[in-house]
Every structure is written in C-alpha cells, then in structure tokens.
C-alpha cells in the first residue's frame, strides 16, 4: 500500500516537475534557462562522484577527463559537416568523422558508452591502488586524457577548441538525464550490488572475506559513473555550444568534489541540491565581479571574487557542517508526509530525514 502510494506521489511529482520545466523553458530568458541546464549537468557530476566515492569508497579524481570525452563526442557527432570544415581550418578533421551528423539521443548514448569504456580501461589497472594512490592515478589519467585531446588536432581541433556546436540541450534533455541518473544510481545503491559496494567502502577486507568480488563491484561503480559523466559532458558541450579544452582541467574535478562534500557524502538529494545551489549561487554573484557604484563611490570589478566567496563557503561548510548539508540522508515521501503531519519524531528509519535533530527542532518551534 505504502509503496504504491509513494510511487504515485513520485509520478505526480515528476509530472509537476515536467510542467515546471516546460514553464521555465517557455517563460525564462535564455540566460536563466542555461543556468538551470547547468544545474542538471552539475547534478549528474555530483551524483556520479557520490556513487564512486560516497557509496563505493573509491577516491577517484577522474571526473574532468571523462566529462571531456563526453563533451567531445557530443560536439563531434552533432556538428554539421560544414561546421566541421569551418572549425578544422588548420588541418582537416579525421575522414571518418568528417561527414557524421547524428541526432542527439544516440550522440548522448555514444558519449556515455565511450566514457564508460575509457573509464573502465582506466579503472582496470588503477583499481589495484587504494586511497590516495588511486586518487592521484585517476587524476593523472584525467590529465593525460585532456592533454591528448589538446594535442590531437585532427580529432579535436586542439587547443583552439570547437565552435558552433548545435545547442540541442534544453531543460527536458538535461533534467531528463539528471533524473535518469539519479534513478539508476539510487536503484543500484539500494540493490544487493549496492550493499556490496557500501561494504567495500566500509571495509574492503571484510567485504572480500564475505565473498564480495572487489574488482567487479568497483569497476561497476566506475563504469556506471563514467557513463553518466560522459552523458553530462555531451549535454554540456551542446549547451555552451563551444568547447574550450581548458574547462576540463583537474580543477573541474575539485569543484565536483567540493559540491558533493557540501551536499553530503552518501546523499543523492544532497548532491542535487548542492549542485543546483552552487550553479545558481555563482550566477547570482556575478555582479560583484563587475563595477559597482554606490553613490559617488565606485568599486571596480574584481574577477575571482565569486570563487573567493565559494571557497570560503565551502570551507565554512566543511568546518562547521562536517557531514555536508544532508549528511547521508535522502529526501523521501515518508519523511515529507511525516513532517507535514508533524509527527516525524516517531520515525526512526535510517533513510528518512525524520530522525535528524534538525527536523526535531523544526517540529518544536
């Protein structure tokens, strides 16, 4: 009964969300639509980092590289042959790509598959390493991928990047992909495979002693993550319509780690909320980097200010909300209903927010 009710609620919420997306797509200006699209892209980044690290415990810093693969696939498969010719004026593009032009859906899937394939190839040797060694090795692979993309002019147009990529990404695509990602990751971590992954996170030796094949589960987490990172990368390039390879420096991965930690390691809700807040917040702060006039006082614009505020905020969250905004808690209908009825204090299941002190305080006031 209860499960059925929750399913209905979820479907209803999705319908409402679809309505909101349609509303946003039709009423908001392109600037804000772009920001909402970016929220979805960063949500996918954070959710996938959570799968690898928050749930499987593998400290991988390869996100930027996998995203770059997706972004280039997204661009190269959707650019029209004429645009490709215009882009590759130094040296023509590799012949097999010159006349390819695909619809968006197969492009996204290929972007995901290629990222997953390369992700698995990277993971295969790297997963023999643990902890920080895994982190630095994956970061290394990510940088190697980027450096190859910068240097492989006939494939990627090198450091000049790509322009004129069709702007296929809209809110339905981006949030559709984000919801699919959340759905699949959530189902995976709640399954028996997910339990095995969490067991690996908590104690590799004990997990292996219980018959869990470490390698198989780690690579599964890697491949699933890399797939969706690749999709997000393709969404990104078809949103911004240009690719600058510098975007995929390892600092992008650091940002994703920061966002995920802010949201809470082990909370997909947290990842989505933190990713959206981060994106919107950086946009809202944009004015402080341009010139401000207060009365007769003129403060010249200072680029970098937004990131200063972001990093202070990140530091603040880590120092004072050490588990991030959501800790390991997830949004759930049971929590919401309990909250609305004001009797959440009785609910003690680990998946609900009801057992937190925060909710209790809300209740008392």
């Amino acid at each position: 009964m209860k499960i059925k009710r929750n399913t209905l609620l979820t479907l209803a919420a999705l319908a409402v969300f679809y309505g909101l997306l349609a509303l946003a797509e039709n009423t908001l200006n392109t600037y804000w639509v772009r920001i909402l699209n970016l929220c979805a892209v960063y949500t996918i980044f954070a959710v996938t980092f959570n799968l690898i690290f928050g749930y499987t415990g593998q400290f991988s810093l390869g996100h930027a590289g996998f995203a770059a693969i997706g972004a280039y696939v997204g661009a190269l498969l959707t650019l029209s042959p004429a645009q490709k010719q215009a882009n590759f004026f130094l040296q023509p593009i590799l012949p097999f790509l010159a006349n390819v032009e695909m619809p968006f859906l197969p492009t996204l899937i290929i972007a995901g598959l290629l990222a997953a394939l390369i992700g698995s190839l990277v993971a295969w040797p790297a997963l023999r390493l643990r902890g920080d060694y895994l982190a630095i090795a994956t970061l290394g692979f990510s940088e190697i991928i980027r450096i190859f993309l910068v240097n492989w002019q006939p494939l990627t147009n090198g450091a000049m990047g790509l322009k004129g990529i069709p702007e296929y990404t809209n809110l339905y695509w981006s949030w559709g992909a984000a919801i699919v990602t959340i759905f699949i990751v959530k189902r995976l971590i709640d399954s028996s495979y997910g339990r095995a992954m969490k067991a690996i996170r908590d104690d590799e030796v004990a997990a292996e002693a219980l018959g869990v094949n470490l390698f198989k589960h780690k690579i599964m987490a890697f491949a699933v993550s890399a797939f969706f990172i690749g999709v997000a990368g393709a969404l990104f390039s078809n949103l911004i319509s240009t690719i600058d390879p510098k975007v995929f420096l390892f600092t992008l991965t650091y940002q994703i780690v920061g966002i995920t930690v802010m949201g809470g390691m082990g909370s997909l809700t947290g990842s989505a909320v933190a990713a959206s807040l981060y994106t919107i917040f950086l946009e809202l702060l944009r004015p402080i980097e341009s010139q401000i006039t207060i009365g007769s006082l003129m403060i010249p614009g200072r680029p970098g200010m937004r990131m200063v505020i972001f990093s202070l905020l990140l530091l603040f969250v880590i120092l004072f909300y050490r588990k991030g905004l959501f800790g390991q808690k997830e949004f759930s209908w049971d929590w919401l209903i309990g909250f609305l009825r004001g009797k959440n204090r009785k609910m003690k299941t680990s998946q609900t927010l009801g057992s937190t002190g925060a909710a209790d305080k809300e209740n008392k006031s």
Binding site: I136, G140, E143, I144, F148, G258, M305, M307, L319, R322
Partner: protein, 297 residues
C-alpha cells in the same frame, strides 16, 4: 645532439628537478604526518613568489632582504592555513581534510586574482642571476646553477633539521605513529606547525627560484608545479623526504630530456609526469623509497 647541448639540457633538467624537489618535500612531510594531500601547497609556492616580487618591486628591498623575508612570511601563512583550515578537521574523515585543502587552494588562487590581478607580472632576476656563463660552445645563464646550489644548501639544512634536531626527530616519529608519539610527551600541535612552517618555507624558496627561472608570475602559477611536485613526492614514496628529492630530480630531468630528444612530443610534456607516475604505481605501488605497508588484519 651534441654533447654540449646535452649538458645544457641536463643542467636545465637538474635545476627544474631541484625546484620540484623543494616543493615536493612540503607535500611529503605533511602527508607523512596528517595523511593529507595538501593540494593548496602549490598555491603556497605562488604566494612565495608574489611576496618576493612585492618586496623587491613595490618596497624596493634588495633581493637579500626581500627573498628571505618572503620565505618567512610564506612560512607564517602556511602555519595559519593549517591552524584555520586543517587542525579542526584532524579527527574527521579524510575526505573532509582533502576538501578543506581544495577549498584553501581555490581561496588562495582566487584571492590572488582579486588582490594581485589576473595579469602576469614580470619578475626581475637579481643581476648576479642573469650572468651569461660560457663553457666552450655552451652558454648557460647563471640562475641555472644558482637554483641548483641554493636547493642543495636548503636540502642540507633540511636534512640536518630533520635528522639532528629534537623537533625534526619528533616530526619523524610523528609520521610513524601520530597517536603513540603524542602519548610520549611530544607536543603534536607544535610539531605539525613546525612541519607546515618548514614545508611552506621550502615551497616559498621553490616559488622564488621558479620565478627566476620562468620570470613571469601569475596567481595560477603554482598549480602545475604543485601537481608535478606532488607526483614527484609519490614517485619517491610519499612520506619519505629523501624519496621526494629523488622523485623531484627524476621528474625534472626526464621531462627536459624527453622533450629534448623527442621535440615532436613537446605538447605532451605535462602528460609524461603522469605516465611515469602511473607506470611506477602499477609496478611499485609504494613509490621508489616507500615502505610496503601491509594492512593489519
């Protein structure tokens, strides 16, 4: 390639390597004690270079005052970073500490952009570092040697501090076992401060020397050297000070020589470091000098 040219590249490689080594030591010392990849360390390098730049260009101090002063200021900043951002998190999951380092790194870089401006400045070498020395057919500018000599002196001082002084010995004990060392009466906090001061001072020296070698400074100048130096630390076996030095030299020399012998690959220069690192990790997961640590079951 002529022998003279080879020697020139080799000198160049050794000087680059000694810079990596100077920076790598800070990574390795901090990691040894806190198990923290202090990704902000590269940005401390940048702070050192800017402190020296402002001392010389703005306050018109002679280099022999500006440079040591910059090192002292940077060391103090390193300690302040540890106090504010890392110390409160020592008992928490390591991802928090790591993220704190990321946040500090972003903060320093962007504060750098806000305060120093995003455009690069030209760093003026002291005159004695700009002398053209001829050896037969080769000519090498004096800074190459001065970097190597300075780094050598700093290594000697460091090894003395670490091996012969009480603080240094406590530091090494701490990196073996932080809890027990705390129990036998060593003031853990002070030793960690000492470590950060020492590491940041060496990073500052590295940053200043870096600026004399590549005389343009910008707020993001520390990112790549920092990352490379970290790789050098891992190559040498992270936590191991002589290992970090060896790793630094190995990385610097091989980077320069590979590009010298295979100029067509120069675009891939930054990828070499990672490729070497990954290969080494796969065959010797604990680095060249690292100890094998079996997990106790």
């Amino acid at each position: 390639m002529t022998f003279e040219l080879f020697l020139q590249h080799l000198a160049n490689g050794i000087s680059l390597g000694s810079l990596y080594a100077l920076i790598a030591i800070g990574y390795t010392m901090v990691y040894g004690i806190l198990r923290l990849i202090n990704f902000a360390h590269g940005d401390v390098v940048m702070l050192g270079a800017y402190a020296a730049f402002y001392g010389a260009a703005l306050f018109l101090l002679p280099w022999y005052i500006a440079f040591p002063l910059a090192i002292i200021i940077t060391a103090a900043l390193g300690v302040i970073i540890e106090r504010i951002a890392y110390k409160p998190l020592r008992e928490y999951p390591r991802i928090n500490l790591f993220t704190a380092a990321v946040a500090v790194s972003f903060l320093i870089e962007n504060l750098g952009i806000v305060i120093f401006g995003g455009r690069p400045f030209a760093f003026t070498r002291p005159e004695f570092m700009d002398v053209n020395l001829s050896f037969g057919k080769t000519s090498i500018i004096s800074y190459t040697f001065i970097i190597i000599i300075t780094a050598g002196i700093l290594f000697a001082i460091l090894l003395y501090l670490v091996n012969k002084t009480k603080a240094g010995m406590a530091m090494r004990a701490l990196s073996k076992d932080i809890e027990t060392t705390g129990l036998v009466g060593v003031n853990t906090d002070r030793i960690i401060m000492f470590t950060f001061a020492l590491g940041s001072a060496l990073a500052a020296a590295g940053g200043i020397l870096w600026a004399t070698k590549f005389p343009q400074i910008n707020p993001l100048m520390g990112v790549m050297p920092g990352l490379k130096a970290f790789i050098a630390a891992v190559l040498g076996g992270i936590g191991n000070i002589p290992g970090a030095m060896i790793g630094g030299f190995l990385l610097g020399i091989s980077e320069i020589l590979i590009v010298a012998f295979l100029p067509s690959l120069s675009g891939y220069r930054d990828a070499f470091a990672f490729a070497i690192l990954i290969l080494l990790l796969l065959f010797r997961p604990n680095g060249i000098m690292g100890e094998v640590q079996a997990e106790k079951v």
